[in-house]
Symmetry: C2
Subunit: 328 residues, 2 copies
Amino acid sequence: MKIAIVGATGAVGQEMFLCLKKKNIPANKIEFFASSRSTGKILKTDFGEMEIKEFSVEKMAEFDFVLMAVSGDFSKKFSPQIAEKSIVIDNSSAWRYEKEIPLVVPEVNFHKAKNAKLIANPNCTTAILAVALWPLHCEFKIKKCIVSTYQAASGAGQPAMDELKTATEKYLQNESFVPENFAKNIAFNLIPRIDKMINNGYSKEEMKVVWETRKIFDDESLKISCTAVRIPTFRAHAESISIETEKEISPDAARNILQNAPGIEIVDNPENFELPMPLTATKKFNCEVGRIRQNLVFGKNGLDFFVCGDQLLKGAALNAVQILKSLL
Amino acid sequence: MKIAIVGATGAVGQEMFLCLKKKNIPANKIEFFASSRSTGKILKTDFGEMEIKEFSVEKMAEFDFVLMAVSGDFSKKFSPQIAEKSIVIDNSSAWRYEKEIPLVVPEVNFHKAKNAKLIANPNCTTAILAVALWPLHCEFKIKKCIVSTYQAASGAGQPAMDELKTATEKYLQNESFVPENFAKNIAFNLIPRIDKMINNGYSKEEMKVVWETRKIFDDESLKISCTAVRIPTFRAHAESISIETEKEISPDAARNILQNAPGIEIVDNPENFELPMPLTATKKFNCEVGRIRQNLVFGKNGLDFFVCGDQLLKGAALNAVQILKSLL
């Protein structure tokens, strides 16, 4: 089996390679591709050095799987052609809302990936939300879901992570700093807008959570409202989640369900400060779920909980590799 | 008029002094008090140097107002005695839940302070929430309120602010760091627990928001659920708020009401990244309110918005000084 990673210079592309290795995907060949700008560049990884080759549609034909860690525009242009010969798993938002393209979180709907030539990987916040929400939805039927996010710099790519570091250093040195990757200085700040605004007062990031969760769950009746906020952390997204369910739900019942659910680690001993946190969730495959308690507004049909998952892993690279694995 | 500030070595105590000055409170004498440990220490402020004197109940008798920026235990012990001779405005949580003690946010219920000898200042998150929620409650009657917070280090005092700085420096220098003021390393992290846990799965900080908002609004029917999260910012708290109202509410109607409400600055042009943020809300008297939009779960009876207010100001010192001013 041969696998190509397109967009290998970015944070997600490189994590895809690491996930393929760590998940023991039996590949004879894994190759890195990017634009001509990066051709010939050598990337040092935990699994040896990798040379970046120049991307072309033709070259993709020899690969069984092509993992795309590229922009939506790039994917729009090339993915359909590549998908004629190879199976494409695309991390961009280009195909997520096309009815005939499956949008897959393997813990929820891996069966949708079967026989597809082009498979969309969801938005990072959605993937992390879905993995925690789905087992509860199956058991208690979620009617309403209100989410506030605490999103890391990595969601905006490696340059944004670098900028968080530089901006913080400048702040501590009392030096001025002009942001480039974020619209405002992210050092010791938060920015309650991610992605562009759309005409209902929500950001696209917030609506991605609504649109994508409904599609992945195949349930258009699910009501979701989201507030997406960038905070100064590096690579794990956290989410404060309130749900109202059709069936009565208790924290213990929810904990029992989540304990046996795939992709989840219960970290819920707040007395001892065992809590879902970027400090512990970073570089972890499973998403941490904790602070499970009865919601005080929805009463016996309501639950509050807190989730933290690595944005580059479950939020991107890991999910793509899990899709690939589910097809083997 | 003579005013004493007890606990003047802390962040809140010093902000109380600055607020008295900036709000032009006509005091003949303002004096700083603290424990014997700090006696004789000179504090440099924007309005000159202040010497710290040793606190005793007897010394308080000559002051018309005593502003307490002390621990709950200290206030429990001394405030009733001081209140026999002076008017005490207490920032601790010691008296907030006593039925006969008024809990006051001047924009909401300044009339409750009248004739009282001991007045409680609310929890910081509550004060910032209340100032934004009250005008909407008056017009649309809020039935349900779900809040997720983004709380700054200052809520845990000056040492916690210093620790955020040091922990971040150590992180950037790849040096290890053992937290003292926070239970976990706060550098580039978040901690979804503030204050101790109580037996319903909520933290005391979260329940303070529930208990205090109901008392300030004099409305026990108001349903509130809160998730309180510490993030690595210095001194402005942010809150993501979803409400369901009895009367239909629209973003425009809400904006009109909030525009004319005291203590609020509408910062709501997300297209241009004019958003409530610690970057802009820090050291500002008014609380910033933005991201006003229809909530997608509660529909025509629901609103989502985002608030950011200075924890040391509206969340503590400013509110106390506003109470004092309302009594003049």
